[in-house]
């Protein structure tokens, strides 16, 4: 079976592995790096459960070959709350994660990592999104429990919280 070497950064850590060329980025993250926060739903780019941030852009990692992530910088849900040393998986949650808990933006939780990373992508481009903009931003993430309303509330609340924190930082 043809194999390929992939060198990349995942949640700020350098990694190098050799995998079957058929390996998808989502399989690389889950099976090689044990980062099982990235979920596998449909394998057709529809459900968004496998969403990760690749070179600053949200992508569906079931539609990316692991080989294509060579030299890429990947952030998964585990890397959203960075540790002091720059690695991922810190104890403190990101404001988007806190808002999802506070506003009941999840039930079963299967879609949540992808949903949060889509929100992360949105808030990086647009710190003050309208409700319509939030809806467009999560159009690629399917949730079968919540009916989306609380997810939209959570993302709105996260954007307010993040703006208020940024404001405090710039004042101090």
């Amino acid at each position: 079976m043809p194999r390929v070497t992939v060198k990349l950064r995942v949640n700020h850590e350098k990694k190098e592995v050799e995998v079957d060329t058929r390996t998808l980025l989502v399989d690389l993250l889950r099976d090689e790096f044990m980062l099982t926060g990235t979920h596998v739903g449909c394998l057709t780019g529809n459900c968004g459960a496998c969403t990760v941030i690749m070179d600053d852009l949200s992508v569906k990692s079931c539609t990316v070959l692991a080989a294509q992530a060579n030299e890429a910088d990947i952030m998964t849900i585990e890397g959203l709350s960075p540790r002091q040393d720059g690695g991922g998986g810190g104890a403190k949650l990101h404001p988007i994660q806190e808002a999802f808990i506070k506003h009941h933006g999840l039930q079963c939780g299967f879609c949540t990592p992808g949903m949060i990373l889509s929100a992360f992508q949105l808030l990086r481009r647009n710190s003050k999104p309208t409700e319509d903009e939030i809806r467009v931003a999560i159009a690629g993430n399917l949730c079968r429990c919540t009916g989306y309303q609380n997810i939209i509330k959570a993302i709105g609340a996260a954007s307010e919280e993040m703006r208020s924190r940024a404001g405090k930082q710039s004042l101090s």
Binding site: D20, L57, N70, N141
Partner: protein
Amino acid sequence: MMNKPFEYFAPKSAGEAVSLLKKHGSSARLLAGGQSLVPLMNLGLAAPRQIIDLTRIKKKKDPLSYVTANNDSLMIGSMTTHSEVERSRLIRKHCLILSETAATIADVQVRNRGTIGGSVCHADPAGDYLAPLVAIDAEFRAINSRMKGRTISADKFFRDMFTTALKQDELLTEIRVPRQNRPRRGSAYVKHKYVEGGFAIVGAAAVVSLNKDGSCDRVSVVLSGVRATPLRLGEIEKGFHGKSLDERAIEEAGQLAYEEVREPLSDIHATSDYRREMSRIYTKRAIRLAAARAGARETKKKEEG
């Protein structure tokens, strides 16, 4: 995991990519953004023996991802993503219909990765770019394995379902579109979809040019999703020169669309009859919006289509 193993190549230049294509023949596939090909491989519907990944081509040295302009046209590199087409200031200013089209494709993650070149080469009959590119008379630049270039007009590019005019050793490098922001010209793309970000059940692209007195100089309408290839509605193109594009004329154009779209595609999302009826509605909506953008006075937006 996918059933069939494949060899993976990451050429650093377009030239290297076409020589790999030549070497491996029809068992090889070019991989652009992968938003169609990788899902098809996951489903077992495509099983190339060699994958030639265009995303590794060096952006600075040998770019396939860019947007530039000259006096008449915009030049869009084939590896430009839908997100880039959606956001490009040049495209928004000079060819709004393309940005508008890109924004309707799938969702943010797919638009971040999928490319305009990959999308047109995949030539899905319900692909969003097809109708607008034909309507604005786009041209496609390709190179072959001897690095010889040629230009193919959009009218001749789409040959059949999932089939383009590109030869086996050819690579699409650039899409050229005439600048659209001229006085008294307006264009629009509207689509009927079964879910947010879904493929076009019917996609209608209209380009309207008005005369100085406000009468219609030219109106062209091209539909995606109804036939194997984009359908240019010739009767509408002939019918409105010198006439006023008022509501009655737009109603008439809708009827012409309905008559010209005989036995359109039928699938799980829409029957043939339904697609035909939607062709009427979306043709009218596209013309109405394009005419309003061209500055026509008597085009009031009606909710019922």
